[in-house]
Symmetry: C2
Subunit: 234 residues, 2 copies
DNA sequence: TCAAAAGTGTTGGGGGTACACCCATGT
DNA sequence: ACATGGGTGTACCCCCAACACTTTTGA
């Protein structure tokens, strides 16, 4: 980086963060994304990704968390940097570069009806979304592609489930994200053989059939194995 | 993105691009990175990644290409966005956010001794680099990790080789990047079975042993297969 | 003729895929 | 009793890993 020149010499692009927040609805078998409706031009009344300006005294990830909390009341999420979008004309008002983050949450934790600050935030099924503001369609498309790719190579799916879950829920989650169906026996064999699931001493409640065992993802064990060169794969 | 507020309301971080330019030296069996020596404080005389400020009228990738050409005379490279680094204190002079790109070039194409604008650019073996300026060590480490990962999942290695190459060169390249040794027969079987290599009607010249066939990577065929759902894998 | 790298096949094992039935529970 | 999903085992096939010798060429 050539920082020999004075730091103030050039006019600067504006810098924002945007968040692609994913949640799954296991009952509806639906991958959802959290959007907010704009109430100012440009793109007034269009839906857009939550986000906003980066302040000077906060890191990019801090900015993403802050905006997410302010606009949608969503907190404590798994956040990951996705990409930067910096085309010259991506915003009609001028040069605005945005850093996109993707976030994974469990849908039930965030009932937006209860959120006070969230004026017009709502969950949309990802394949029903269309015509978002700015280049947010592109950002969402990349986020979906990356999610599908990552879910096979890193144990991020668990961030979309409650702490205790059944193997069937886990399988359904993978099916929703990948858009395929999976063989029950093979899925269970593989996922159990990874040695990362702990079967709890508890079963589902209030189901009109045989209750399934509950499992939790063993984060500590995963970290241990990862250090020894273990690579997670579906 | 909440663009309801006026675009000029907040003070903005400065925005730069930095490039991690990789090249391989097949003779020395070395993965190299291109660095420039700083001639102003901070970090005067330290080595750093080439890069500089993003102008208002150019995209991020254009900025990366421009800075690379200006500082090192390197042009026509395969460029890919790596990540954004935006910690508040990553630059002692103030808030500077940088977009890191990684680039792959064939070493022989860019003899820096012949470059006129490149004051103090030089190739370094990646495992001999230490104590770069700013957080460039972190950026380089991420770039190396990503390169190792990507080389197994996308046919990017060919961007590091001349257009016509031997299978042994290709194998050596993989060995250099992955830091392992590979079995010659298994490697050739796998790489040929992908159906992406075209054997040219030509062999190596000026070698003191049996001359090897030359191959080229069939970019068109790769694009065709990719559209049909084909996924490259080592 | 020697040195140096090119080129080539087979075998065994592990993991992935395909596939169908009985079990436990709540109503 | 019945409906609903929970839970389990086997056989085959393919791909990966391990492994050594002959061929070609220039010096």
């Amino acid at each position: 980086m050539d920082h020999g020149n004075d730091i103030q010499e050039y006019p600067r692009p504006a810098l924002t963060v945007d968040c692609v927040v994913f949640g799954v609805d296991l009952e509806e078998r639906d991958l959802r994304v959290l959007l907010i409706q704009r109430d100012h031009p440009p793109f007034k009344h269009k839906w857009a990704l939550p986000g906003g300006y980066v302040h000077l005294e906060e890191s990019l990830e801090e900015a993403a968390r802050r905006e997410l909390a302010e606009e949608t009341n969503v907190t404590d999420v798994y956040l990951e940097q996705l990409a930067v979008f910096g085309d010259v004309d991506r915003d009609p008002r001028g040069r605005i570069v945005t850093v996109a983050y993707s976030a994974l949450v469990t849908l039930r934790d965030y009932d937006l009806r209860g959120a006070t600050d969230a004026r017009d935030a709502a969950w949309f099924s990802v394949d029903e979304v269309e015509q978002l503001a700015f280049d947010h369609d592109r950002i969402l498309a990349l986020a979906c592609a990356r999610l599908r790719q990552q879910v096979l190579q890193e144990p991020i799916a668990f961030a979309l489930l409650p702490a205790a879950f059944t193997l069937t829920q886990l399988q359904r989650l993978y099916e929703i994200i990948l858009g395929t169906t999976l063989d029950k026996r093979n899925f269970r064999k593989k996922v159990v053989s990874l040695g990362l699931l702990e079967r709890l001493n508890a079963v589902e409640r209030h189901v009109a059939h045989r209750a399934a065992w509950l499992y939790r993802f063993d984060q500590r064990e995963y970290q241990r194995k990862k250090k020894r060169g273990f690579r997670f794969a579906l």
